[in-house]
Symmetry: C2
Subunit: 127 residues, 2 copies
DNA sequence: ATTGCATTACGAAATGTTTCGTAGATTGTA
DNA sequence: TACAATCTACGAAACATTTCGTAATGCAAT
């Protein structure tokens, strides 16, 4: 089993498909075009490559195709996170969490949510 | 100002230099060799490239050189984190924190440390 | 059936990254 | 001084990723 390691462009497309479900090439391209210049056939090529790699499924839809993500969002994020944690933070989850909390203002509600989650972590470890 | 975006190999080397301070090519190569096969001149080439790019400084040291990281560890990690957060988690710091806490067991002490930090965050926001 | 338009398929150029071979330079020691 | 060991510089191959041009195909409306 090949390690799950989408390229930047592939990840960009996965986000679109995770958010919106099955899409045509044109739909994906329209979304990507908002953020940056990209040709239609470039987007098409990415989708074809990702389909070959087994990241996406596709089905016929009238003239063209619908593409849909096969790989699970959370599973993929977890794999990416593990890799990133190791390469950028030498595996220190603690440092990553503190840096994240420090750099991106969280609302009181979010802070409470994290507290609640910490509580469950602590309780679980005491079983 | 060019965006701070070290490649994987460059990041690997930065970690070594951040941990150990100024190093010779041989020292860096010895560290990298523990994790994977890599030729001496490969390591040398990386250090030269990183020096050209302005990521590293170097000074003469007897026969060879000593290389030292110019870019700051926390600044670099922050830049990497921002990019990663956007590309892998669509910018949701919350999701990233929860996934990190969920996947990597933290000690009670670490959990307490995070709680303490959340407290300061909440207090600061009330000023 | 023919035309026109959107789509697909293919291939390859352009770019970025990693890897190392080879040649030449430097230093310490016999 | 000359030899051996170690280091640097350079260039290029190997590999991965991104990008798009062009040609072929499918479909719909005339």
């Amino acid at each position: 089993m090949e390690t799950l390691k989408p390229t930047d462009a592939e990840l960009e497309i996965l986000q679109v498909l995770w958010d919106r479900g099955a899409c045509t090439v044109r739909e994906v391209n329209d979304v990507l075009s908002v953020k940056r210049d990209i040709g239609y056939t470039t987007t098409l090529k990415f989708l074809q490559i990702m389909h070959e790699k087994g990241l996406l499924a596709r089905e016929k839809d009238g003239k063209g195709h619908l593409y849909v993500a096969i790989v699970d969002r959370e599973v993929t994020q977890r794999a990416l996170l593990d890799r990133f944690l190791e390469s950028a933070f030498s595996g220190s989850a603690m440092q990553l969490v503190l840096q994240t909390l420090g750099g991106h203002k969280a609302s009181s509600a979010e802070i409470d949510q994290i507290r609640a989650y910490l509580d469950t972590l602590e309780n679980d470890s005491k079983q």
